[in-house]
Amino acid sequence: MRIDSIPKLEKWRKKCQREYNSRKRKIFVCLGEACLANGSAEVYDEFKKELKKRKLSDVQVESAIKTGCHGFCALGPLVIIEPEGTFYTKVKVKNVAEIVEKTIKNHEVIDRLLYKDKKTKERIAEYGKIPFYEKQQRISLRNVGTIDPYKISDYIAVGGYTALSKALTDMSPKQVIDEVSKSKLRGRGGGGFSTGRKWATCAKVDDEPRYVICNGDEGDPGAFMDRTTMGSDPHSVLEGMILCAFGIGSTQGYIYVREEYPLAVVTLQNAIDEARDSGILGDNILGTDFCFDIKINRGGGAFVCGESSALMKSIAGEVGEPRAKYVRSVVKGLNDKPTVLNNVETFATIPVIIDKGAKWFAKIGTKTSTGTKVFSLAGKINNTGLVEVPMGISLREIVYDIGGGIPKGRKFKAVQTGGPSGGCLPAEKLDLKVDFDSLTEAGSMMGSGGMIIMDDRTCMVEIARYFLSFLVQESCGKCVPCREGLYQLHKICAKICEGQGTMEDIELMEKMSLTIQKASLCGLGQSGPNPLLSTLMYFKDEFITHVKDKKCPAGVCRDLIKFVITDDCTGCMACIKVCPVDAITGEKKKIHILDQELCTQCGSCFDICKFDSIEIK
């Protein structure tokens, strides 16, 4: 059905809302990547089967709604029952019949499937009251988990494309840009450049055509918010892009998606097709003179393509090597034409700004970093998943209140933000307010929002080596400082991990880092030494221990450690079962024996031992 006027869109919206609300009780089944891997597709099918079989009068078969990611990935598959907001975790196929019988039919809550708070040991029934969700404020993730990503009617029912109809009826292109400028929104891809200023500059360039590009090349390891938004609420990204195109006067847009995200490509393509069929994309959008279309480009697996000029080359079908930016891409971007490139989260935020107004948005967050930011919490933390919080929240609140602290009672050691361009912040920085400027000041950066928590079993020297090795692999090789410099840094850092480093090596690394930062062509090289420099700044002692004492306190660098079973061993045999090389032998209730000849120092035994009877020497 093609909608050819704005009043008709509003009429359609009423119909969509009737349909969306006709399902009085809704069973949301999360089909995000993490839940899928745990079998949520089977759970969804089982719900459909069960409902059909029972034919409950107020619950239709369609009430089982497949949604995108709810964010609380650690506990998948997740099932939420509305309007009560009952939140079931780790749901299996065999639980489905019971849920339908008890919760759907008899309004009973099944206690053992509820979330259990690790601190208070209490079961919490309502999903809004779980600490993980309580402190969040969802703007960019507003629809994630509550709509079917494959249905444009769901998006429209919850208020989707109202910003577009508002812009097309009441606003001029300039007013759209002004509103974005006034909101002080800064690019969520990492750099934090003012979105409004970017759009305004591009709109002023006297050249055509202009392009809108959405950067969905979420290459930072440890970041997965864009994958979730693209896969769970694709229309909000499209709406943001359409508003941008209206503002700057563009007719063609591109979404560049990583090869590693096949599911996002499917949902986005479906959303584009649906929007086109409904007259929201393509020629004469909603019956106006405004024309704009979007094409998806799949990446080829190159981290450097997240850099804007490399990304544009890749869209043009070339090798993704960045160029020196004497002329910015808003002036000469894709095919040398003016181009606005923003990331997924930025575009997904735009419709809310236009809809609710810049003033409302600017009130959230801090003065210089307005709004909210999505972070992906991962690593050594209890509640892994996606969180959206107002800017200015402290790291401590994210790690302990939302994230639920460190598993197995271990000690917090560092939080890594900003991916391979960012840095590691220590426990002293836990009270740091999270915004663009304070993170940069502390020696890390916002980046796209990956937040990896590390405990005392993570070696910071080895982490620096890991990031360097990542960057060496991903350096495109065009400029010397990045190609050769990072290679040498990695070599030296690896040497220190092996216990062969000297104090001069540390000094040399610091010196080389500064040269690489100054002399590299693009952001990858310029920020490449950051993970190393920040670990050197906050964890220098650990480097010195590796060099002078030839020891790795975290028990990670294999050349420097030995695992020993102490007399406290209870003989529980847990370590025998996990040892991948069968180096541990022994009988039940007798002290086990570790054969040092066979041991590869992997540490599996250390991690599994409940009685602290394995020591790192």
């Binding site: 993490a34 745990n38 970041a223 890749s314 079908g317 991962a378 890991y466």
Partner: protein, 149 residues
């Protein structure tokens, strides 16, 4: 499977000689044949009217492209940061030893290809291993080999 020249041409012709579609053409070829056959590289250059060297440079620049045939099962070990600190290295070691191939190699019986990827975006379930696009999360080191075999 010997690549059929007609099939190659059919895939390439879908893009009507559009030079900017080079990466997409190569992706489509790889999807069909599991790698990019040499005949595909030359035919692409001809059809898009670009130098052979350019097709080759694009095919070797992007890490997902393979110019050699790959095994029936493609195992991809995630080496993103979250997976790394949760022991992805150990998993890699186990699988390498068990299959007797290193990352980037294919077993001689063409059954397995082992690859390493930099983050597949399921960090919440780290460490992750993909076997032919089927995602496995929270992989335990001692069980890794069973999972892929």
């Amino acid at each position: 499977m010997t690549p059929d020249v007609k099939q190659i041409q059919k895939i390439i012709d879908q893009h009507h000689g559009d030079k900017s579609a080079l990466i997409t053409v190569l992706q489509d070829l790889q999807r069909k044949f599991n790698y990019i056959p040499p005949e595909g590289v030359t035919a692409t250059a001809k059809a898009l009217d670009v130098p052979l060297s350019k097709v080759y440079s694009v095919a070797t620049f992007y890490s997902t492209f393979s110019l050699v045939p790959r095994g029936e099962k493609i195992i991809r070990i995630c080496q993103g940061t979250a997976c790394h600190i949760k022991g992805a290295d150990l998993i890699q070691e186990q699988i390498e030893a068990g299959l007797n191939i290193k990352a980037g190699e294919t077993s001689s019986d063409m059954k397995y290809t082992l690859e390493v990827v930099n983050c597949v975006g399921v960090c919440a379930m780290a460490p992750a291993v993909l076997v032919n696009d089927k995602m496995h999360g929270n992989v335990r080191c001692e069980k890794a080999l069973k999972l892929v075999k």
